[in-house]
Symmetry: C2
Subunit: 418 residues, 2 copies
Amino acid sequence: MFQTVRGMRDFLPEKMKVKQFIEGTCRKAFEKYGFSPLQTPVVEEYATLSTKAGAGEEIKREIYYFKDQGERELGLRFDLTVPLARVVASNPELAKPFKRYQIGTVYRYDRPQAGRYREFTQADIDTVGTDSILADFECIAITAEIMQKLELNFFIRINNRILLEDIAGLAGIPEKMIPEAFRSIDKLDKIDWQGVEKELLEKKIDKKILSFIKDNDLADIEKMFKENKIESKGLNELKQLLELIKEQKLEKFIKIDLSLARGLEYYTGNVFEVMAESQWTVCAGGRYDNLVKALGGRETPAVGISFGVDRLTDILFEKKETESIAKIYLIPVNKELALNALSIAQKIRELEINVEMDLTGKGISKNLTYASKKKIPFTVIIGEDELKNNEIKLKNMKTGKESAVKLNELSKLKELIV
Amino acid sequence: MFQTVRGMRDFLPEKMKVKQFIEGTCRKAFEKYGFSPLQTPVVEEYATLSTKAGAGEEIKREIYYFKDQGERELGLRFDLTVPLARVVASNPELAKPFKRYQIGTVYRYDRPQAGRYREFTQADIDTVGTDSILADFECIAITAEIMQKLELNFFIRINNRILLEDIAGLAGIPEKMIPEAFRSIDKLDKIDWQGVEKELLEKKIDKKILSFIKDNDLADIEKMFKENKIESKGLNELKQLLELIKEQKLEKFIKIDLSLARGLEYYTGNVFEVMAESQWTVCAGGRYDNLVKALGGRETPAVGISFGVDRLTDILFEKKETESIAKIYLIPVNKELALNALSIAQKIRELEINVEMDLTGKGISKNLTYASKKKIPFTVIIGEDELKNNEIKLKNMKTGKESAVKLNELSKLKELIV
């Protein structure tokens, strides 16, 4: 028996309906803010993939890397941001700011584990070509809109990478050790404060940074900066963003978290991370101003956020009853009436109602079992009597209630099936 | 400068909007007939991919084949039918008939040429688990609906593989030579009747088959079969399908074409091919009853059709003006009014209207250029006067007409922007 590739999975219809609902919700919210769709290939040149700041040869082990028959070095994309940066770098004519969204699968050669797959779907928005914090704010507003539409409990952790660097400086960490310090701090979710402290100790990094980010709020930090005459661009960016958030009454969804470092080293400003149902990171992003240049374009500021559609799907699938695709299931009582049933089905479809009909000529009871397995909410049995009376009887499968509808008044179905 | 991988392409927003329109049109038509969505991974085990009837080792040269770091033999899927058959074979609990659609990218290591890409999108429906010709008919009806919604000229060529085999038998071609004969006949699009005749001659196959399929209509064939006492299952299937098509008044879109062989050897019944704008094959399919079994499942009849979304996109992109994503573009006259503009933008978005606003603080004329480049149909300039009057002025960019709307009556925008 053939299987899916290790670490990858099928979305069978019940789950795929949830996934499509999430993708549709994302798309609608993205478009409401004027983001336009983009599609890029799943396969990219290895040279493109390896350019992301901080990624070197070792990335070969984390991605699907291969050569085609022409010995070209290729790989499956591991995110949607690198392809976006390539698009921007090689299409300088695109009007800026370039606001695009992309929903697509990405690939990582990770160790497969619960909730982690080697193929998964991201839904990304990015605004490329402006350093305005309004663009950062749009990421937050769209996130809040989507998470509310999905009816999930959530909060958005916010921090700023430059602010964190300035705090690290104030805590006496030498500049070249800062990335190492962040790599440890970034593990707070997994190894807690003691664990991070131990790592810093091993790396011979002053652990003072930990109390700085743990025991202070933004006002404390601002005060410390003032006392030490530190002008922090990062602090200003974060404060600007918070002002917009308050102004638009979204602060109830926000947690300032000075410990949020975000693993990838290319972030250069505000960073975000979204927690759903108090335990799942479902979305993350931030400002990254160097990536387009690294891919051969001009210096271009950018900010974006990426939704983990797979994880959202798994969460929502547990919470939400899915609706069937077909609203009505038609059953001809015998094969001779299949043509009549088909004509009726076609007339109902003309009303933009989704209809499935029995194709097989199986018996009524088997058909009802099938309809109930597929959770189709209404059935219509078509027999000689109904045809003689020029009507159909719509049966609500939940309540058992039947409603007769004349064939020349089928548009009444629209109200009956809501 | 980094490029897309050879033979693959980006869909920039202008074209991607057309592609999404086509995908949405397909999805809606598929669901109207009760097909449910499925998603399978882009990467499949090589063993799965090489199982398709007729495909052997040589398929390695036609696909993206590679090994992962665990030395697993993998490949990128070259169609959506093999993954479907794998899903059906390994999930026997799925209610039958299993009607699914899938829209996704597939990969072929072809020589790239105009209109042919190494990554392209297919939109497929398949009904698995019934040999009813009603399922064949649904493929035809859905095709007609989609092509009409896309406002494309089209016709559907129809034939039956078993009928063609029976004609070949009548024309004296030995059974084991029939696949070779079909391979030549399948080239009729490319090398015309003379070319095919020459090929048959080289293969020492009686060319009589050509006049049989060229000079006869279905009635002639039926008569010949009767005279020769041939019971043709294929002829019956095709006649049944035609009866349904006539009954539902779709015959104006149909051309019976006895020369239609369809390259892939796994078709076992009715076959279809859709021509758009008199020159492009945009869609093809048919009945294939052996694939699921080949992938380890039970004997399972199936029929399906696959839309070439890329080609449809290219055709429609030439014919159709696209609409902008944002319907309204907001321009604050200076940076100090950005917050006011943002509040207004958010209120309009609450009405489910797509709004883009200036994020950059650039001047009015640059903003108008941007809006016009993005073809946004309405603009609103927000200045002190408007704010004092608690109103905005909506400007139609085509007609130049301005309409004042009070801030507490923003829902009036809904009528103004249609």
